[in-house]
Symmetry: C2
Subunit: 420 residues, 2 copies
């Protein structure tokens, strides 16, 4: 680890330490009666599990093989200055880089350091390996209002999402100035990351909404088996995959796309989609397969073949009816029905307890990445929202769109391009 | 698998099938135009992962090595008769036994069977191994009111929990006629179990409250490392362990304990404990360790040694102050301070999004098992609720107590002893 010796960013800012310590107390060095030897890096955690580098050309957590668990958080930035925002992003970069290698969020870790100050890490991941942790940051449209002088930096592609037919959005589940997607194969590691980043932001940004996802519903590489959503179907078979030649141009912002600070970045759209699973569970197997357009067991298109067979939307059966219903999800979401537009999906199943009618509050936290939402998510979702037979069993209650900047390096924190 | 051929319970009851199909439709055999061969057991899932037998002297999920994930559900029984309740428990037994072996909840599974009826399994666990799934059933005090003629069967040990000082219970998170604890190393498998059992109960019992837990906080066997709670500390080091000689008499109801149908059973107490982690995170390492009575890193008692060293509550340091504070959690919860009373703990960390002040709604879903709550949970919790320094950082918001009957066999469903 060399981050502590990187010249531009030797550690958390004074405000970052303040966040850790709470109002009015600086975390390090002011304790009285320190009767324990300070042991930097004692919070280090080692482990054999997968770990992905935080620094790089692109942020990790996009084409990275989808981990099993998710903690996603959207933040509102408090009344701070542009340079304080820049400092927050530098602090987040510092801590995120540490945590993705299994270290604590701060240099002392959860169980050492000044004994009369709060630890600079909360500790619940102390004995856990990184478990493939990735931390991915994004900026919502509202960050580009007049508070931070960033209006001129707003990319055209970072549109305000239109109202889609059937939207039932809940104010408290929509938007956000900033977002963090933490994915890991161990939910405790993902929760630890969001908690500590939220803590570092104390006084500078606060949680607006957040979501745990317990099971991935997408494969982002061909080596991963296609998982099932809470309708019981394999989901995202026609998803873009990291290794496919055309994926790069559909996911990463290219030079010349406008807003040059976004080159090498991507756009994230999140949708919290509640599934009315009790209603779904009472429909026949025939109807379920008609709605999806695939078989429930194998996941093969109803036109025949196996899971990865191309659907044949022209194939017909009895009475010349199409084998794949024209209102089926697989047909309406298919690139061939959307001028070739495709998405890199990275969604997760969720269950948030139950409602007061005794129904599980369950569904899909949909996440997708793309080069330009105007050409990808928006038209695809307009098509689905109007015509998808699946809408009868869905309710979109949360929504977010975020510009995900390119990756950081040891001396250029996340979002540095905003302040050039 | 022999359950389908067991004489007493060849499959789901007619009402169980009704639950799967929704009001007014019987699941099997009434479909028109069935154009697919019915393939019993096609929903079977095989896998190399751990599986625990459902049938046995005791229910599994109690002394079973604690799995990583939890879905817990409490149910209200609808306006049904005693014999319909008996049938519900038989249906649950049938489906639970199947699911713990990796089979679908019903005999056809999610992707085959009558094509014009709803599948008898929802399918999201179709490709997943059992992943150590255990399903544990319990009966709340309210089941023994006058609705089902069971008042005479209520065990004296199934007390109504007293009000504990500081309780901040929320009505909708308390009680329940029935409970199901589903534990698995894969959260999707645990969610699948609760969802399908809830579905089978349609019209007979409905969800009252439910809880997902993402990380175990207890070790129930000595082979398991002690995990950390969201305070960042190892939790339950002094917990009873399955292999300890004295555990059996502290966990299982013994002959002569009263309510003979409970012999071989246990009593489950659940407490949803919200942790005010933002406040905790701003306290010094010194204060955190004082409150817990152990070091944060190693988990050793502050009287010295390593994690499993016995705490020495008489040891003193500077100015003759006790090294382990008299109000510390480790001291007040210790069997030596509770007339030897101990609990088998099986709790899980939870995060349920955040509140509207931007604080994570997080904490511990505490579960314990014991032979008699009057001699174990109740006096220990009274002691803690009055004196534990940790109370400043806790709020008990949910609560349940359930009689967990002995294990089922192929011809005696869960709770059969209630109806003898």
């Amino acid at each position: 680890m060399t981050d502590d010796s990187a010249p531009a960013r030797p550690g958390l800012s004074r405000r970052g330490l303040l966040g850790l310590a709470g109002a009015g107390v600086v975390g390090a060095g002011i304790g009285f009666g320190i009767d324990r030897v300070v042991t930097p890096e004692a919070g280090a955690v080692s482990g054999a599990a997968a770990s992905y580098p935080f620094y790089g050309e692109h942020q990790s957590g996009i084409v990275t093989a989808a981990q099993d668990r998710l903690h996603f958080a959207a933040f509102d930035v408090s009344d701070i200055t542009a340079s304080e925002l820049e400092e927050l992003l530098a602090d987040w970069t510092y801590a995120a880089n540490r945590m993705t290698t299994g270290l604590g969020a701060g240099k002392y870790g959860p169980a050492s350091g000044p004994y009369d100050s709060p630890p600079d890490d909360t500790g619940e991941a102390l004995d856990l390996p990184p478990s493939g942790l990735t931390i991915t940051f994004g900026f919502g449209p509202s960050l580009f209002d007049d508070r931070f002088g960033l209006a001129g930096k707003r990319p055209d592609a970072l549109v305000d999402l239109p109202h889609f037919p059937g939207d039932a959005l809940v104010d408290t589940l929509v938007g956000g100035d900033l977002c963090i997607q933490a994915c890991s194969d161990d939910p405790q590691v993902a929760v630890h990351a969001i908690r500590n980043l939220s803590r570092i932001a104390f006084g500078r940004a606060s949680l607006r909404w957040s979501q745990l996802g317990f099971g991935r519903t997408s494969s982002t590489t061909r080596a991963q088996a296609t998982p099932r959503n809470l309708f019981g179907f394999k989901d995202g078979t026609a998803n873009l995959r990291a290794e496919d030649a055309e994926t790069a141009k559909d996911v990463w912002v290219q030079p010349g796309d406008g807003a040059s600070w976004m080159t090498g970045g991507s756009y994230l759209v999140s949708r919290k989609i509640r599934m009315t699973i009790e209603t779904w569970d009472r429909t026949s197997l025939r109807e379920q397969e008609r709605v999806v357009g695939r078989t429930k067991g194998e996941g093969a298109p109803l036109s025949g073949g196996t899971e990865f067979s191309e659907p044949d939307f022209d194939a017909t059966g009895r009475a010349d009816a199409p084998l794949i219903d024209t209102a089926s999800h697989v047909r309406l979401a298919h690139p061939s029905m959307n001028d070739g537009a495709a998405l890199l999906r990275r969604g997760y199943n969720f269950v948030d307890g139950n409602d007061d009618l005794g129904r599980l509050n369950a569904g899909l936290f949909f996440i997708c990445f793309q080069r330009d939402p105007r050409a990808q998510f928006v038209p695809i979702q307009l098509q689905l929202a109007k015509n998808d037979a699946m809408n009868e069993y869905l309710r979109h209650v949360g929504s977010g769109i975020f510009a995900v900047p390119p990756g950081a390096t040891a001396d250029r924190p996340i979002g540095a391009g905003l302040f050039d």
